[in-house]
């Protein structure tokens, strides 16, 4: 007597595919950056008193060649004050932090005017530094 074997149907896991798709979307959204500063080569100075830097809309960077960048785009020192003022317009005092990412060997002739420009525009200066190793 022949016994019929029922073939077991294997179907793709449709339910978990949707989960996987959403997880991948989250993964790429988290990785995506609104400001790309990977082209700026700089080393932070070491000092004491470093805390977690606040989230800021404005960041000014100075790379190892002394070039000044405003939110990832190259800018002149004289243009900084109006640019900072424009970005910080209508923000409350606690949201006016300006991150300064200055290469450790930058000379005073470059960074002092930057500090002055930020101060003139009403920003709160936050120096991005590394904890000093004792």
């Amino acid at each position: 007597m022949r016994f019929k074997r029922r073939k077991l149907g294997i179907s793709p896991p449709y339910v978990s595919m949707a989960d996987i798709a959403f997880n991948l979307v989250l993964f790429f959204v988290i990785l995506a950056k609104t400001q790309d500063e990977s082209h700026i080569v700089w080393e932070p100075a070491e000092a004491q008193g470093a805390k977690a830097a606040p989230i800021s809309r404005v960041s000014i960077s100075v790379d190892k060649d002394g070039l000044v960048y405003f939110n990832g785009k190259q800018a002149g020192v004289r243009d900084l004050a109006p640019l900072v003022e424009k970005e910080l317009a209508n923000l409350s005092p606690k949201d006016r932090a300006v991150l300064l990412k200055i290469h450790k060997e930058t000379l005073a002739s470059t960074f002092e005017p930057i500090l002055e420009a930020v101060s003139q525009a009403g920003g709160e200066v936050v120096h991005v530094i590394e904890d000093e190793r004792k």
């Binding site: 896991p13 996987i20 997880n23 070491e46 606040p54 120096h127």
Partner: protein
């Protein structure tokens, strides 16, 4: 006997099907779990917040030195040295000596410290010294060279 064999084989196929379905569900859940763990570790590894130090920097004083208020502490920086009121001080003694000068001034407006930097002062030296000034209780004011536009005919 043949009927018994048929019943036994159908029971066996039902059990096989049930266990295959169970295995499929478990695999689905394990895949989800694996991806969730992957995202968790990627997010933890990638988000390293930057460290910074806020600093209150009032607009630079463009006063000439002889117009500065009397008894205001003046710190001058060069490439490698630091002086307080013209006297060179070592890094180790800087905070102590500055604190001595500022402790006699209880009001915050009197604790202004004018920081003058030579053009070739590196940022790492400046940030360390200004950190020590703040630690000693001073309020930093920068003294910059005044820029004037001159028309050449």
């Amino acid at each position: 006997m043949a009927a018994g064999a048929t019943i036994e084989s159908s029971n066996k196929s039902r059990r096989n099907k049930a266990s295959a379905l169970q295995t499929a569900w478990v695999l689905n859940l394990l895949t989800d779990l694996a991806f969730n763990l992957l995202i968790f570790f990627v997010v933890c590894a990638s988000t390293t917040p930057e460290k910074g130090r806020p600093q209150q920097v009032p607009s630079a004083s463009k006063d000439k030195p002889n117009e500065a208020k009397p008894q205001t502490v003046e710190v001058a920086l060069t490439r490698t040295t630091v002086t307080i009121n013209g006297a060179e001080v070592s890094s180790k003694d800087f905070t102590g000596k500055l604190k001595e000068l500022l402790d006699v001034k209880p009001k915050p407006e009197d604790r202004v410290v004018i920081v003058k930097s030579a053009k070739d002062t590196p940022y790492r030296h400046w940030i360390r010294v200004t950190g020590m000034v703040e630690e000693a209780g001073g309020v930093i004011t920068l003294q910059l060279e005044e820029e004037k536009e001159v028309t050449v005919r």
